[in-house]
């Protein structure tokens, strides 16, 4: 009975840990669905100018607070058009309330064209003019799928550009926070002793700050007249400052539990050096948790960024983020007059849900050995 390995079939290829995780993840429909949406949002964010008909700063002085135009395939007579079109909007003033009302004007049919020449945009230092769709610039045609804002800017185009800033902010903040958190957490957990004690007290100190007042206070310190990019970077820095601490704690706990495992002991027993134990045995076994943490933190940062920018203390114009777009309808009247300016809320909800779905799927998948 000392046949060593009856049940191992040498024909089947070995799967690495991440291949196992991938297999498990692919079985989770909810997670996959979330991932697809996340990827779509990311691609849209990266190529935002291509997918949007206008630049975010283009103003249309004649058409402020214009409601969304809907896409049609059938015209008034009911005949089908292979090329979708929108109607121009006729503007009327209510003689009693002096309110402007808009109604589609059948006279003005603006056919949507694809791969049109539009205003130029930069990508990786290259200049492009092609945009996915748009209407002919000539004879005053316009296309505002989500309507326009108080300055007559296209809400749809701004929202896509806002995706970019919001996601960039989220990725930047989480990546840096994760990096700091991992370094501090691993060192604290592995070296223990006084270093751990001091680090953990500092982490607790960071955690004891009341978040919101601190954000507001720190943001108030930012120079008012500073460049928008500088404000963006400092804003990200402040978010990082308050995020890494909690993560470093989680990593520390994980490192402490891995440090006590027999395979680390066994590595010590063969004389492995400290760095080797850290980087070959401990850190690789925390990666799955890091990935899961990151996917859960991204929607968190998106929400926080939106919230703070909504309050007007986050991303500053001319930069556009979902939160700063919502800032424009801070007062009730403009909300009442142009509810379509709420569109970024849809983007936020969709993205946050998608990230959470992806995170759930990943969390279930990173422990592939549990499954039968």
């Amino acid at each position: 009975m000392s046949v060593a390995n009856p049940e191992i079939q040498t024909s089947k290829a070995s799967l690495t840990y991440w291949e196992l995780v991938k297999r498990r993840f692919l079985r989770n429909r909810y997670g996959i669905f979330g991932t697809i949406i996340v990827l779509t949002v990311v691609i849209i964010g990266i190529l935002a100018p291509f997918f949007s008909p206008y630049t975010p700063i283009r103003t249309d002085k004649d058409r402020q607070y214009f409601p969304p135009q809907s896409i049609h395939f059938f015209d008034e007579e009911g005949s089908f058009h292979i090329r979708p079109f929108v109607y121009g909007l006729g503007e009327e003033m209510d003689p009693v309330t002096y309110e402007f009302t808009f109604a589609p004007d059948p006279e003005q049919q603006f056919p949507i064209q694809f791969f049109v020449e539009g205003e130029s945009w930069d990508f990786l230092g290259l200049e492009f003019k092609t945009r996915l769709f748009g209407v002919s610039e000539a004879d005053g045609q316009y296309l505002y799928l989500f309507g326009t804002d108080n300055l007559g800017r296209d809400v749809y185009s701004r929202m896509l550009i806002g995706t970019r800033v919001t996601l960039l902010m989220a990725f930047l903040v989480v990546a840096i926070a994760a990096l700091i958190g991992v370094i501090v957490g691993v060192c604290s957990g592995y070296f223990a002793g006084t270093f751990d004690l001091v680090t953990q007290r500092f982490v607790e100190f960071m955690g004891a700050f009341p978040d919101l007042p601190l954000y507001l206070a720190l943001l108030a310190l930012l120079p008012r007249r500073a460049d928008a990019v500088l404000v963006f970077i400092m804003f990200a820095g402040i978010l990082v400052l308050l995020r890494w601490a909690q993560f470093s704690r989680e990593i520390r706990g994980m490192v402490i539990s891995i440090r006590g495992l027999d395979y680390v002991r066994a590595a010590e027993a063969v004389g492995a050096s400290r760095p080797r134990i850290l980087f070959r045995h401990i850190v690789p076994n925390t990666t799955s948790q890091i990935v899961v943490w990151v996917t859960y933190q991204l929607p968190d940062v998106i929400l926080l960024e939106s919230f703070l920018s909504f309050l007007g203390v986050g991303v500053q114009p001319p930069m556009v983020s979902w939160g700063s777009m919502l800032n424009q309808i801070l007062d009730f009247q403009s909300f009442n007059a142009a509810p379509w300016m709420m569109a970024p809320v849809g983007g936020i909800i969709l993205t946050v849900l998608a990230f959470n779905a992806m995170g759930d799927g990943l969390r279930d998948a990173v422990d592939p050995y549990s499954d039968k």
Binding site: T10, L20, A266
Partner: protein, 551 residues
């Protein structure tokens, strides 16, 4: 089973249980039938994954929701068909006519309620009884299970009791409503060997007193032999052999049963040739842990002496066993001797070299000649590394071997040494079974060509038949490479089969030491006697008194 004259309490027929999994369907139990006689014990024996626990759960309708029970399955319990009963009907039977005790006494009691309340709740769930009366009934039950000082225990929480006491409480809960059938699922596996003997004794006594039938589920053949009248041996979801316990043990029919019975460790180590040189020696080794407690401003540290001035000597080709129950300090002693943890007193010599006072860097060259194999093969291999990396790590770290090809060859030899196919080098640990993983862990130690190996319970996480293979392997390796072993175990049988000398530890102290035959055959100290008795007799014959002091 010839049971004409006896009354059959439970008749299980054609029990089939399957679980849907992602790649299809697993048939965990197939066509299992057995009968339990009134007042007798039936043992279901098998290794892990044989379907014995699933079978027992199927009887009580306690399977997970995913489980699929075969259509022809039938469980007749004193004339009543249990399969197909509603959850409410089953609940009435569970805990009253049939009750169950589990393996893990740490988790089967609710930590938020006192022991008394849990027993009272169980009584009142099945019998209309005022609280006061139920309380005195609970007290009587605690006396019944021989818990010392039962009045006080009634108002204690589970965490205030030891493992053995908790298992007694579980038994009190199980017999609270005088069941006709007690299902005991590995009731003693998590307990120390002397406690195990007491618990088995208790179950036996209660069985006689209440006229209960017992369905005992276990992997431990000794327990079966001493406690059950009838036995069913399970393998891969089927019963391969059944019969009266004595008959099956004296004359096993099925090759698997024969194999299981032969797997019991036996034999003795070969005598040492002459007076071999000392390999590793510890002189009055002392390990102290600092326990911090008290508040932030009033911090106190207390010294916990885990190993109290223990002296030990392991010679070349010799195996020294260290036995003791959990918490006796045996693993701490082992780890301190090979300097994986530091000691606070005494001298440790490897050959002629003193090693207890050198620092990490100077220990480097020691690491190649002193190796260790751990208990749990599931946590001792890094899941992110392939077998080649795991085994070759020591070679890489210590710059042994001139090239990767050279090291690969060494890994190949080490794998052959532990009887594994060298082609498994590129596989990950999760692709192997427990026994195979333990072989890999042994290969990792052997590739360094050590002189001394610390074996920390290397077989206790494994099934019996695998355990026998690993012990044979360790014996072969010792004789082939003239290795010295320090073998830590709570299993006296394994120690007896493998070790020349033995050290019995309790609470960090050496109770008794000497040649294995002497200590284990003719123990001098009370504690050693109780240990030996529990290991070889299994069911304690003295109900409380002598063994009480260790509880």
């Amino acid at each position: 089973m010839s049971t004409n004259s006896e009354q059959i309490l439970l008749k299980a027929k054609d029990i089939e249980v399957g679980f849907p999994i992602i790649e299809g369907f697993v048939q965990a139990v197939r066509g299992v039938s057995f009968e339990i006689v009134q007042g007798k014990t039936l043992a279901l024996v098998g290794e892990s994954g044989s379907g014995k626990s699933v079978t027992a759960r199927a009887l009580m309708g306690m399977l997970s929701e995913r489980a699929v029970v075969g259509k022809s399955a039938s469980v007749e319990f004193s004339g009543q068909q249990l399969i197909g009963l509603s959850e409410e009907q089953l609940q009435k039977i569970r805990g009253s006519a049939i009750s169950m005790i589990f393996q893990e006494p740490m988790t089967s009691l609710n930590p938020l309620y006192t022991v008394g309340n849990q027993i009272i709740e169980s009584i009142q769930a099945h019998r209309k009884m005022p609280k006061k009366e139920a309380r005195s009934e609970a007290l009587r039950l605690l006396q019944e299970v021989q818990i010392p000082n039962p009045e006080a225990r009634l108002d204690q929480y589970p965490h205030q009791l030891s493992g053995g006491q908790r298992q007694r409480v579980m038994i009190a809960l199980a017999i609270a409503n005088e069941p006709k059938l007690l299902i005991a699922d590995e009731p003693t596996t998590a307990l120390d060997v002397t406690i195990q003997a007491q618990i088995l004794r208790l179950i036996k006594d209660l069985q006689v007193k209440y006229g209960m039938s017992v369905l005992l589920i276990t992997h431990d053949l000794n327990v079966v032999r001493k406690t059950s009248e009838q036995i069913c041996v399970m393998r891969n979801g089927e019963i391969v052999e059944r019969g009266l316990t004595e008959e099956v043990f004296t004359n096993p029919q099925h090759p698997y049963t024969k194999h299981l019975i032969q797997s019991e460790p036996k034999g003795a180590p070969p005598p040492l040739q002459g007076e071999p040189p000392t390999s590793l020696q510890g002189d009055k080794v002392r390990v102290v842990f600092k326990i911090r407690h008290g508040s932030f401003f009033n911090r106190k540290t207390e010294d916990l002496v885990a190993v109290n001035d223990v002296s030990i000597k392991v010679r070349q080709s010799e195996s020294v066993g260290v036995v003791g129950e959990s918490g006796s300090g045996k693993t701490t002693l082992g780890l301190a001797l090979i300097r994986l943890i530091s000691s606070q007193g005494g001298e440790i010599l490897f050959g002629d070299r003193r090693i207890d006072n050198v620092d990490r860097k100077d220990l480097r060259d020691l690491r190649t000649s002193v190796q260790v194999v751990f208990q749990d093969p599931f946590s001792s291999l890094n899941p992110r590394m392939i077998v080649r990396q795991i085994i070759a790590e020591g070679l890489v770290v210590n710059n042994i071997g001139s090239s990767d090809a050279d090291r690969d060859e060494m890994v190949r030899i080490a794998l052959k040494d532990v009887q594994m196919d060298p082609d498994v080098m590129d596989r990950f640990p999760h692709e192997f079974s427990g026994g195979q993983r333990q072989r890999i862990a042994i290969a990792r130690a052997m590739v360094m060509k050590p002189k001394f190996v610390l074996l920390d319970e290397p077989t206790s996480a494994l099934d019996l038949s695998i355990q026998a293979q690993i012990i044979d392997l360790l014996k072969d390796l010792r004789d082939k490479h003239k290795l010295s072993y320090l073998f830590i175990s709570h299993d006296l049988k394994v120690i007896k089969a493998l070790c020349h000398n033995v050290l019995v530890m309790q609470h960090g102290n050496v109770v008794e030491a000497g040649p294995t035959d002497q200590v284990l055959v003719n123990p001098q100290k009370e504690y050693t006697k109780a240990l030996v008795n529990a290991a070889f007799e299994v069911v304690s014959d003295q109900p409380q008194s002598a063994s009480q002091s260790f509880n």
